[in-house]
Amino acid sequence: MAIAKNDTDPARLTQKAIDALGGMRRFVSRGDVVVVKPNIGWDRTPAHAANTNPIVVAEVVRQAYDAGAKHVVVTDASCNEPNRCFQRSGIWKAAYDVGAEIIIPGEHRFRSMRLKGEVLDEWPVFTPLVNADKVINVPVAKHHNLAVFTAAMKNWYGLLGGRRNRLHQKIDVSIADLATFLQPTLTVVDAVRVLMRNGPQGGNIADAKDLFTVVASTDQVAADALTCTFIGKTADEIPYIKMGHERGLGTMRWQDLSVVEV
């Protein structure tokens, strides 16, 4: 796991964090179809910090191409109207400018699939994410009123279509189920600007705080366990992180891992 800070340029932070893990070539092979999955959930601008920082997304795309990826797709299944989310988050343009294909989550992109989870059984699944060779999760770290804090594992809500609103009744188990189903090649958590309260969609610029930090990890549970400290929480307070740990998806004791600070 690597933490990049002490810089204000999101692209450099991203690059440093990935380099500290051994560079993108460790994760992406020549000819891969790579899906970069940011959080593009809300019709909010970068200043609101409800979506992943577009510069971080673009840097991950660029690195994937540099590592030899045949094709890089950037996509998410948004909560608000997707076209607005993709455009106003700045991710559409940023990703397009570095050559990524942007897939708008149209209805035809979802196919029913068995997830074999504890609460998630058969659901419409967003096909670009399951059809990829490599998936890179690029979530944003932020406060969440029900789940306390969200970053990597919760970002897989964007894997599902259908009536996601029912998931909140067992939000922690459903997050753990999704993280069990989809374990990414690499997780890059954007904490350049972090929504400290009123998450997940915020709306007030005053609710967000510049932290200028990017975390890269191969362990999505550890990534969540580390980044939740940015809003003053610990992994023990967040049930889904514990569930992920207990299911063996990763470790919530991130301190036990070798953490490189750059």
Partner: protein
């Protein structure tokens, strides 16, 4: 139908020998006829393109945070002088772009009803169906008979037009119900396009079910293409749109019996232009003596305006399609500037008493509908107007039911009202949050509204940056159905989606008793347990009525949180809170 097209095209290209004296049409007329055909196809294409672009699809090129439509997608409505006349009468003002309709009036003063014959997309549809539809009926003598002027039925459109203007004078732009541009946008935008999308969606499902990757990928690519050009990335649904589509099909079907029935009998815009067509500088002259009664002009006549010899030409009915002169083998018909008017009738053939009666009927219809319980008493809570809408009475003065706002809404939130706002409010826009909510930073409905029923507001006005935000209603909880309130189950999706800051929906966290689902030992009562839930509440001072909470509430059939119109910014009477009440303004 394919065979019919083929035989007709064969006739067009074969250049069959002209009967009678066989005098060929003047070259300028042959050119004009083809120019007209190209214009018709071109304007229909532009109309459809604008309709397809009436929406938001996003763009990789766009940098800005402000989202606007891609061009003057409402242009045909702005150029519609009947809309201009109605709103002028009802509001005594001309709303911005509608001044463009003066250009169409000017065009009519020069050339007559060229708008009907050359430009109107709905007219072009009728022209096409009137040509291709009557495959077995309406041939030869039958067609000639139907294409002769039928004054009784052709008067109807004038009376309708007058009645609608009467209604406009008493404060309602209800004439939009029959304005051809409004009809076309409404029926194609809310009916034909979504229905085609639905069919394409099912076709794609079938492609997906094949399990063959190449087929699936081709299907997905086709869907992506259509979603980025013709429709949106999700299926749109419109409230009671079956009725709108049924009327369209019926009106197109009538071409089987009377070609261009709509244009000749019903169209109030055609009537409006017909009234001013008599001043046109360009028109027809006839040499009756040369006419052999071959009736070829009548076979091709669009307006049923008596082009044949022996009777006077009805200038107010003529669509200026030029077919008659093009068809005439005898040198009877001549279109020219400043023609002699001895064989022309320019004024519609109307009965004065019926004109007065029509205007009066239109004028009294509005008070008659308004003494029903729709505006002042028993105002329906479902009449949630789009953000930026003016106060209800002024709204009805302006709204022409063109459906532009419903078409452009990226969330499928706006719908044509059925009878929620009374019979007068038919097809005016209402928000149905269960189908779609009002996207927080979106102002597109006001952008495309051609008459100002929905004002062009900025993001700052809508969001309330340094001012009060625009509210279209207020949310209420049905505590008996709400999961945290009545079932001890965590949820608060409503709070998550609430877009205001601070959130209008707030939650109190508490521990509530919940009975276990499994019985105790030996069939004893199931044990009680304590669960932590967050119970949502609405702050009516902050709620903007966007309906996001209602849309996402997981109680699928009848949501536990719903929005009603009370508290809307535009009304000084439909309010809840004391501090929002002001009796100094009406």
């Amino acid at each position: 139908m394919v065979a019919a097209v083929r035989t007709r095209l064969a006739k067009v290209f074969a250049g069959s020998k002209r009967p009678g004296s066989g005098i060929p049409a003047r070259n300028v007329i042959r050119v004009l006829v083809w120019a007209r055909r190209f214009a018709q196809v071109g304007f229909l294409a532009i109309f459809l393109y604008f309709l397809f672009e009436t929406g938001f699809r996003g763009s990789f090129a766009a940098e800005g945070e402000r989202i606007r439509v891609s061009g003057p997608v409402e242009a045909f409505l702005l150029a519609d002088p009947f809309v201009g006349a109605m709103t002028l009468l009802s509001t005594h003002t001309v709303y911005r772009g509608i001044a463009w309709s003066v250009a169409v009036v000017g065009l009519t003063l020069l050339f007559g009803r060229v708008f009907c014959g050359w430009i109107c997309p709905f007219g072009t549809l009728h022209h096409f169906f009137g040509w291709i539809f009557p495959s077995r009926y309406l041939k030869g003598g039958r067609r000639v008979e139907q294409n002769k002027t039928h004054p009784v039925r052709q008067r109807v459109k004038y009376y309708l037009m007058i009645a609608f203007l009467g209604a406009a004078a008493t404060g309602s732009a209800i004439g939009g119900l029959l304005d051809p541009i409004c009809v076309a946008i409404r029926a194609i935008g809310l009916g034909v396009i979504p229905a085609t999308q639905y069919v394409a969606g099912r076709a794609n499902d079938a492609a997906a079910a094949t399990g063959i990757q190449a087929v699936q990928q081709t299907g997905d690519k086709a869907q992506d293409f259509l979603a980025s050009t013709v429709w949106q990335s999700k299926q749109f649904y419109f409230h009671q749109t079956w009725f709108i589509v049924t009327l369209l099909v019926a009106i197109l079907f009538l071409n089987r019996f009377v070609p261009r029935f709509w244009c000749r009998v019903l169209c109030p815009l055609g009537a409006f232009l017909g009234v001013i067509a008599k001043y046109a500088l360009f028109g027809m002259e006839k040499d009756h003596a040369k006419c052999t009664d071959c009736n070829l002009c009548l076979v091709h006549c669009q307006g049923a305006d008596s082009p044949q010899g022996g009777v006077k030409w009805r200038q107010d009915e003529c669509h200026m399609c030029m077919n008659c002169e093009s068809a005439c083998p005898e040198d009877v018909i001549k279109f020219r500037f400043l023609p002699g008017r001895t064989s022309t009738i320019g004024v519609p053939d109307l009965a004065r008493r019926t004109v007065v009666a029509s205007a009066a009927a239109g004028a009294v219809a509005i008070p008659a509908t308004r003494i029903a319980d729709v505006i002042d008493a028993n105002y329906d809570h479902r009449v949630i107007r789009p953000p930026g809408s003016v106060e209800e009475r002024e709204f009805l003065e302006r709204c022409i039911r063109c459906a532009e706002c419903m078409k452009v809404c990226p969330n499928n939130a706006l719908h044509p009202a059925w009878f929620e706002s009374g019979i007068e409010g038919l097809w005016t826009p209402i928000l149905i949050a269960r189908i779609g909510y009002c996207e927080h930073s979106c102002v597109l409905c006001g952008e495309v509204c051609p008459t100002g029923a929905i004002q062009k507001i900025t993001e700052e006005q809508k969001l309330g940056i340094n001012q009060k935000p625009i509210s279209i209603g207020t949310a209420f909880f049905d505590q008996g159905r709400c999961l945290p309130w009545s079932m001890g189950t965590p949820c608060i999706v409503c709070e998550e989606f609430c877009p205001t800051s601070p959130k209008a929906i707030w939650a109190e966290e508490l521990e509530v008793p919940k009975r276990s689902a499994t019985p105790g030992e030996n069939g004893a009562e199931p044990p009680m347990e304590a669960v932590k839930v967050k119970r949502p509440h609405v702050d009516p001072a902050l709620c903007i009525g966007c309906g996001a909470c209602e849309k996402v509430c997981p109680i699928q059939d009848k949501p536990a949180v719903y929005v009603t119109s009370v508290g809307e910014t535009r009304s000084k009477t439909n309010v809840i809170l004391l501090e929002n009440t002001s009796y100094t303004q009406s």
